[in-house]
Amino acid sequence: MSDEKAPGFDTLAIHAGARPDPATGARVTPIYQTTSYVFDDTEHAASLFNLETFGNIYSRMMNPTNAVLEERVAALEGGTAALATASGHGAQTLIFHTLLEPGDEFIAGRQLYGGSVNQFAYSFAKCGWSVKWADVTDPETFRAALSDKTKAIFIESIANPGGVVSDIEAIAEIAHEAGVPLIVDNTLATPYLIKPKEYGADIIVHSLTKFLGGHGNSIGGALVDCGTFDWQGSGGRYPTMTEACESYHGIKMAETFGDFAFAIAARVLALRDLGPALAPFNAFLILTGIETLPLRMQRHCDNALSVAKHLAAHDKVAWVNYAGLPGSASHALAERYCPKGAGAVFTFGVKGGYEAGVKLVEGLELFSHLANIGDTRSLVIHPASTTHRQLSDEAREVAGAGPDVVRLSVGLEDKADLMADLDQALARV
């Protein structure tokens, strides 16, 4: 099959990137548990090191198991290429290392996942990369935060944990008017629910740990090059993409690698030098997870909507914040961007504040109390007593982690069992 008749999403989830193993005929992608690869001869080795030909050198930069995962994720997002990394944070580091120079700025939505907030605000500051915050519920705040040092805009398609759905198209327009790429973290939605490229994203980032892998067994990340940003027409604002690379005999990335140059630059420069390579065993587990993504994601969403409706009608629940519910501030955007479902992560408030939140979490028997999302198992966390406990009361409120807030990641169990578990725990609050 080829691009004559574009294959459907479910077909891509199983087949993209994965031909039978040429050496053995193995149909399932083998785990190539090796650090390095034999060269045909010294000339072949030189060609590989000079980036003149395609091939494998060293698993810090490329691995055949990881390559299948990369092509799979690129195909699902409609991108030109992808790069797998040790974690979602690793992918973000490689993206910004490729785009920014010391002294540069980027704008990010303030509703981001707390781990990204920490990375951007504190660790990136040590590299001289400065984040400016905007409000994803008001795209014009991104325009207001632009300066001549702005090199990128970063948002989540669906924010974790607040469940805010971003108006990707409106923010993409602001980014492109300013001549900077839009980066979209598509972890909570996955390409099954939202394909950010269709709304103007130039680079997509994933924590593969969550719904793509989907089984809570492997940390991994990926960046996707949508092939849409014109690096050569950017007036030299992205020197890594357009200037001669000293460490590759003067190759210019954008000129040489065209519409997949960003993914190549992130691999052969940032990944090579910073090193967050994905273990091939993790790539294998994540690939196996992706094969069932369409089935799992629909069930995740259906279960989440049922649980959210059930909680909204419960007399011990103060509020439910799920974009799939008609009362949610993000409901209209959810209907436009993700009509198949608003994901499976949302927050709700228990009447009785901090103590009630702690009691609920401790009383649950099926939901697991842990700091992850996107597992087959249903998960719960009370941010105020765990992930956000070091913050002041005021800072917790701003972060959407007030004393009564409970976050759920709804799994694939029977929804009646999930609702019964919440009922019995709420009864003890």
Binding site: E4, T11, R19, Y37, E52, G55, M62, T256, F260
Partner: protein, 177 residues
């Protein structure tokens, strides 16, 4: 330069595969001896895949690029070549296409970013096959599956085992599906 809607905007994988499987000798007009230039990469890659490559660059005639002798013009090659790959700008492509027809080429291939519809019509009227705005290295890598080794989306799905190039460890070849 007029560009008719739909004209040469899409090539099927079967068309590209037939071209790359059907030619043995490829003249590369505009090949550069500078090892950091894309035309050098393409010359070297196609040579490694077993094609006879004939670099054409009047500024470097008589020298070698990637071990292949450089000619000053297509006519200077003095014998027919199967395919002429044009690494020059779109305007220059017309004259090169006329020369390609004159030396009996079967295929005119214009690189990524190069497109000249008038030249394409001229070549097609003379019975040549024309590919525009594509790179033969990328297409070879895509259809063989090699390009997926660097995470690039080949857009090819197949349940068939890829073929390895004889005597090599890390090189695939094109095979008719």
């Amino acid at each position: 330069m007029s560009q008719a809607e739909g004209y040469h905007e899409h090539y099927s994988d079967a068309e590209i595969r037939a071209v790359l499987n059907g030619v043995r000798s490829i003249a590369i007009v505009g090949a550069s001896p500078n090892p950091s230039r894309p035309s050098y990469f393409v010359t070297k890659y196609l040579k490694a895949k077993g094609y006879e490559v004939l670099p054409v660059n009047p500024g470097h005639a008589g020298k070698e690029i990637a071990g292949a002798k450089v000619y000053g013009s297509l006519a200077e090659i003095g014998r027919p070549v199967d395919m002429v790959d044009i690494f020059r700008n779109s305007d220059a492509a017309f004259g090169i296409t006329e020369e390609a027809i004159a030396i009996g080429a079967k295929v005119v291939w214009m690189q990524l970013g190069v497109r000249n519809d008038a030249a394409a019509r001229l070549a097609e009227e003379a019975g040549l096959t024309v590919i525009m705005n594509r790179c033969p290295k990328i297409e070879y890598g895509r259809l063989s599956g090699e390009i997926g080794w660097t995470g690039v989306n080949s857009k090819v799905l197949s349940s068939k085992r890829p073929s390895m190039r004889g005597g090599t460890i890390q090189q695939r070849m094109l095979k008719e599906d």
